[in-house]
């Protein structure tokens, strides 16, 4: 536990994201809370800026700062590399997750606990998992924000090439394997489609490929960093 505490303290002192991003999260959270208080029905759309910020916050990149020597202290402090990687992901995702929970708590409070909040249902949780993991995994060996920029480019390009994908409604009845595949791809590329949607039974199958992809991406990225040498940029 003490070692985890040290890792948390390290990434609190030297966060993997720019300080400006923390400020942006604070602003987005305040705006979302005000928006939820004014119109509780718009809770789902209030979460969208936080999810977009989370996309960039999690695309923090591990390899580049490590090759600059920023993590030397951590890597030689007696922490297993895998634990460092997990802590790095946690530190990248924590601000966005905290903002989301805060907005959900406010939404729950203003409904006097009488209704289940739209911000903690399966669709929103899945969207948060996707934007918190895939950009981190893609960017782990690339410069900061690469994964988020790549994801947004893919989303924009696909929306121009296949407008029908954006129009797909997660949770709508699915009649064939092709429909399932298109919906699953749409959910993976546009996780915002899932926000506020409560999925049950067979509908849950559309998020399975996305979640599996996220788990695989994080596992491969972690394995790659765990095995990788970390030379100093200046010494090569």
């Amino acid at each position: 536990m003490r070692r985890w505490w040290y890792l948390a303290w390290f990434f609190f002192v030297a966060p993997p994201m720019p300080l400006l991003m923390i400020g942006a999260f604070a602003v987005a959270t305040v705006v979302a809370i005000v928006s939820v208080i004014i119109d509780p029905a718009r809770a789902s759309s209030a979460l969208t800026p936080v999810l977009l910020l989370q996309l960039f916050a999690c695309a923090s990149g591990f390899d580049v700062p490590a090759r600059r020597g920023h993590y030397d202290l951590l890597l030689t402090h007696g922490e297993p590399r895998r634990r460092v990687i997990v802590a790095h992901w946690g530190a990248s995702a924590a601000p966005g997750l905290l903002c989301w929970l805060l907005i959900a708590a406010v939404r729950y409070a203003i409904s006097n606990g009488s209704e289940r909040t739209l911000l903690l249902n399966v669709g929103t949780v899945t969207a948060m998992i996707l934007v918190s993991t895939i950009p981190w995994a893609i960017t782990v060996r690339l410069p900061r924000f690469s994964g988020a920029i790549g994801w947004l480019l893919t989303a924009v390009t696909l929306s121009l090439a296949r407008p029908d994908m954006v129009a797909v409604q997660a949770g709508a009845p699915i009649h064939s394997a092709t429909e399932w595949l298109v919906t699953a791809c749409a959910v993976l590329v546009y996780p915002l489609l899932l926000v506020g949607r409560d999925l049950h039974g067979r509908d849950l199958l559309v998020v399975v490929p996305g979640v599996m992809f996220a788990i695989a991406a994080v596992s491969i990225a972690s394995w790659s960093i765990d095995r990788r040498d970390i030379p100093l940029e200046a010494a090569q």
Binding site: W9, F10, V13, A14, P18, L19, P65, R68, G69, H70, D72, L73, L75, T76, H77, G78, E79, P80, R81, D229, I230, P231, L232, A234, A235, Q236
Partner: protein
């Protein structure tokens, strides 16, 4: 661990960055309570060797052991201090906060961000942070005297001597030979064509090792004809 047992063991190590060979067939031992100075021209592989000792790099060929373990495992079992220079500190972090990452106590009472500090202050912050842990079994410092003023250099020398006397194995690299002179028990000269390990008494038969003697030895080694050592199959391991 028995006193003065071999703590760092480097056997037939070759380092490469892709196809470029940095050094080849390097072999040496370092005992607990001993200090090794690594001297070499730019690009000779000083930083590469030091990063291998702390497990950030793996040798292309050969074996490195720290206390009998591979370096990455050794960092989990032994207490290691490693600092590769002021440029490796994250610029946006506050100096006071960074200082707490060593032993938990602030090592520098300066609330400015690291990027706002002078080169010497950054160097001192990094060194104080890594050296604040107790006890240390292996200290690996890359150009530690760079940018330090006289008082800070004196503090560093005293700290390293104190840690070494308590049993830490110390490996330091420096271009500033007058800082290394007299401090180390052994000197490893890394050159493009040869790596050579020399004990202090081999450099100075009488009296302490001086900067002039180190410079003289380094120049002689550099000026040695390269042809016989570059023949295929010829080993150029560091001799002790």
């Amino acid at each position: 661990m028995a006193p003065s047992s071999v703590f760092v063991s480097v056997r037939n190590v070759t380092a490469r960055y892709r196809r470029r060979e940095v050094f080849r067939d390097l072999t040496f031992d370092l005992r607990t309570g001993q200090s090794l100075g690594v001297i070499g021209a730019n690009g000779a592989g000083k930083t590469t060797l030091l990063r291998m000792l702390v497990g950030c790099l793996s040798p292309a060929v050969g074996d490195v052991r720290i206390g009998g373990f591979r370096p990455r495992d050794a960092t989990l079992r032994t207490s290691v201090a490693y600092f590769a220079g002021a440029a490796t500190l994250p610029p946006n972090v506050r100096a006071t906060a960074w200082g707490t990452l060593g032993s938990g106590e602030a090592t520098l009472a300066d609330r400015r961000r690291i990027r706002a500090l002078s080169q010497g202050m950054k160097q001192l912050l990094g060194l104080r942070t890594v050296l604040s842990r107790h006890p240390l079994q292996l200290i690996v410092l890359d150009e530690p005297w760079e940018g330090l003023d006289t008082e800070s250099s004196r503090w560093l020398n005293a700290t390293l001597e104190s840690k070494r006397d308590r049993g830490a194995a110390v490996v330091v690299s420096s271009h500033r030979l007058h800082d290394l002179a007299g401090f180390c028990d052994e000197y490893l000269f890394l050159m493009p064509h040869e790596a050579r390990l020399m004990k202090a008494h081999e450099i100075a038969r009488v009296g302490p090792v001086t900067a002039a003697l180190l410079t003289d030895t380094f120049d002689k080694l550099r000026e040695r004809p390269k042809a016989p050592l570059e023949q295929p199959g010829q080993e150029y391991r560091a001799h002790s």
